[in-house]
């Protein structure tokens, strides 16, 4: 049995939207604190205040990984900052056992004028490593950062990617009991990112981890449980794949980005979705019902497989079979995409059919269709699976 390292019991935090007021409240809170009164009063909101985090509870054991998902400004970072002891909760209680490591800010304490070597010592000390620990791990850090002779150059001459490398190399030498991870890996090239994920993977088993990420595949691959926060409230706490599903559904209504735009020669378009869950090597098959006012020829048809961030993971040019001619009246197509090899994530389809030599859109549909891909291997950024559309009426 492994021990519970994080216990969070009904914590809340309020923030103020107005800067002037916020500073004044800061003064009030300061004087209250110095008189020994509790923070946050009796839980009432003052003008211009709102709950950034509202009544969140959970527990985490060693070896477990908890994903934290939600839209920008939902309160994920605020929650993380409270766990890290940077700010005080206004209600509730947090109990943290063991050494806390936070991969939240990389390269904290770097001075641009000093060399990479000198900055390693400063950065590591800020993170709580002793001189002895730094000396022991120094070669490991140099090795991981792969900076070569630049290590003796001032940090201000580094590219942002190089700074992140150095920061990450230092931060992950810490062997924490509790690891707080905010999306710090969003920078750097692909090979370094995958190296980072391997390093994080090795830290996972030894610690209780909280991961904040917008990348669904990272959450579903690394986390057993996840929390979905919406406007400070805990909307879902449980299985990470369920949480992702709820999150991506909320995303659709939130962004309002399910749409189908058509040309005036189209009367209506409908899609019939295929399987909701795919495995590597599967094809995604669906039906397309296009009702036309007049006959036109589709000159160009492309389907993009996109994730929640609208990043294209696969692109397919449709080959029509036997004809790409749309006749007046109903046209039914059976479309087959694949075989597909994608990283684990939930995806949407963006379909664009064009006429006039591909210059004029006829139908553009986004997020009308989607599926969840189950996979344990991480694939490269983009590839081009075959696609075919067979006319069946």
């Amino acid at each position: 049995m492994s021990e519970t390292l994080i216990k969070v019991d009904g914590i809340s935090k309020k923030f103020c939207r107005n800067l002037k007021r916020s500073l004044w409240y800061g003064m009030q809170d300061l004087s209250k604190e110095l008189w020994g009164q509790r923070n946050g009063g009796n839980g009432e909101l003052r003008p211009d205040e709102f709950w950034a985090v509202n009544d969140v509870s959970f527990e985490l054991k060693r070896g477990e990984c908890l994903g934290l998902i939600g839209h920008n400004g939902a309160g994920k970072t605020t929650l993380l900052r409270m766990l890290n002891g940077l700010i005080k909760p206004d209600r509730g209680r947090i109990e943290m056992r063991g050494r806390v490591g936070a991969l939240i800010a990389l390269g904290a304490g770097f001075n641009p004028v000093l060399t990479g070597r000198e900055n390693i010592y400063v950065n590591a000390s800020v993170l709580g490593l002793s001189k002895q620990e730094i000396d022991d791990k120094f070669d490991e850090i140099l090795d991981f950062a792969e900076l070569g002779e630049f290590i003796d150059a001032p940090v201000q001459s580094y590219s942002s990617g190089m700074q992140v490398r150095l920061g990450f190399a230092v931060a992950t030498t810490l062997e924490p009991d509790i690891l707080l991870l905010d999306e710090v890996l969003a920078v750097g090239d692909a090979s370094f990112r995958s190296k980072c994920w391997r390093r994080i993977g090795s830290l996972l088993s030894k610690a209780a981890v909280i991961l904040v990420s917008h990348e669904a595949y990272a959450i579903s691959r690394l986390c057993d449980k996840a929390i979905y926060i919406k406007q400070g409230n805990l909307e879902y706490y449980g299985d990470s794949n369920n949480a992702l599903k709820i999150y991506s559904n909320a995303n659709k209504t939130y962004n309002n980005d399910v749409f189908t735009v058509t040309n005036k020669s189209v009367k209506s378009v409908e899609f019939e979705s295929g399987k909701a869950q795919l495995l590597p090597g599967d094809s995604y098959e669906f039906s397309m019902y296009i009702h036309m006012n007049e006959s036109v020829n589709i000159d160009h048809a492309v389907i993009n497989i996109i994730d929640q961030n609208e990043e294209v993971h696969a692109q397919s040019l449709l080959e029509f079979n036997p004809t790409s001619l749309l006749l007046e009246g109903l046209n039914v197509f059976h479309v087959k995409l694949g075989p597909l090899y994608l990283s684990q994530n939930s995806y949407d389809l963006s379909i664009l059919l064009s006429i006039n030599g591909g210059k004029q859109p006829l139908i553009h549909s986004k997020s009308a269709l989607g599926f969840l891909f189950k996979n344990h291997i991480c694939y490269g950024p983009k590839y081009y699976p075959p696609g075919s559309a067979s006319k069946i009426n």
Binding site: G36, R81, G85, G92, I94, V100, A102, V113, K131
Partner: protein, 291 residues
């Protein structure tokens, strides 16, 4: 792994965060304060070394900057007094030595006073994102002040000997004087830090206030003998600190020794109080900083 960790479970640090003020459990709070102080020693040294190195690496004149300002100040006052623009009553010390020792000691005081607010302000980014002993910032500021003070003292000693002044036994006490200047400066600086972080007005008003304070301290003027100015000088807690340090350096027996001791006792008390305030204030201030 798990079994191994189970053995350590008891000595794993537990941190609890609640809305309650730490003042409710003062014993635990004091324990934590001194624990953090010692935990932050190494970091403080690193930060101080970082800042000193960075400061001199990008400056052509390097260490000279530690005393260029006080020297310029001395030159200005010498000019004012010898040209007769300002009439200054005679001092027991040669006037150049009087101003020079005064401005140098005052510069050390200003360094110490400005350090806490500057350090904390400069570390906003780090404070907003990482949890490290907050004391380290203050201690690193003190280290840096001491480093700069060493340079100033070296120059002071040269000047004092050039003028043929024998400090005698006072030399042994002089470091106590310098340390007390640094302590009083740090205590006052730390006291204004929480509000200074919240409102930039403090940082803007500080130089003005310090200039005024300098003129009611025997830095460039000798102690007035009578009148309301004399009362003002006597009430100023900085007067005994500066005078006693100067007396020790220049071989006089200090006239204000008892006031010096009283002021230092008060300073210790203020330092402790402002340290507590600083600790309590930090989470509230960080909340108002951007992440």
């Amino acid at each position: 792994m798990t079994r191994n960790n189970k053995c350590h479970l008891s000595d794993m640090p537990i941190k609890v965060y609640t809305p309650d003020s730490s003042l409710h459990s003062p014993v635990i709070m004091l324990k934590e304060m001194f624990f953090d102080l010692s935990a932050g020693r190494e970091l403080a040294l690193r930060l101080a070394v970082r800042d000193i190195r960075a400061q001199y690496r990008q400056a052509l004149l390097g260490v000279l900057w530690a005393f260029i300002l006080p020297m310029a100040n001395t030159a200005a006052w010498l000019f004012l007094s010898y040209s007769g623009i300002v009439k200054i009553s005679s001092t027991t010390l040669p006037y150049p030595v009087y101003i020079f020792t005064g401005t140098m000691l005052w510069a050390i005081f200003m360094d110490a006073l400005n350090a806490p607010l500057q350090r904390v302000d400069g570390a906003r980014g780090m404070l907003a994102k990482l949890n490290f002993p907050r004391e380290a910032l203050i201690v690193s500021g003190i280290y840096q002040t001491i480093f700069n003070a060493f340079i100033k003292i070296a120059l002071l000693l040269i000047v004092v000997f050039l003028f043929g002044i024998q400090p005698g036994m006072g030399m042994f006490f002089f470091p106590i004087g310098v340390l007390s200047i640094i302590m009083v400066g740090t205590a006052l600086g730390l006291l204004i830090t929480p509000i200074g972080i919240l409102y930039t007005d403090i940082g803007k008003a500080l130089p003005l206030l310090l200039q005024f304070l300098m003129y009611i301290t025997p830095v460039v003027f000798p102690m007035p003998k009578e009148g309301w100015a004399a009362t003002l000088f006597n009430l100023n807690p900085l007067t005994p600190i500066i005078l006693t340090s100067r007396d020790w350096l220049t071989g006089f027996s200090p006239d204000y020794l008892s006031s010096f001791i009283i002021v230092n006792c008060f300073a210790v008390f203020i330092l402790l109080a402002s340290w507590i305030a600083y600790r309590l204030a930090m989470p509230i201030l960080i909340e108002r900083m951007s992440a």
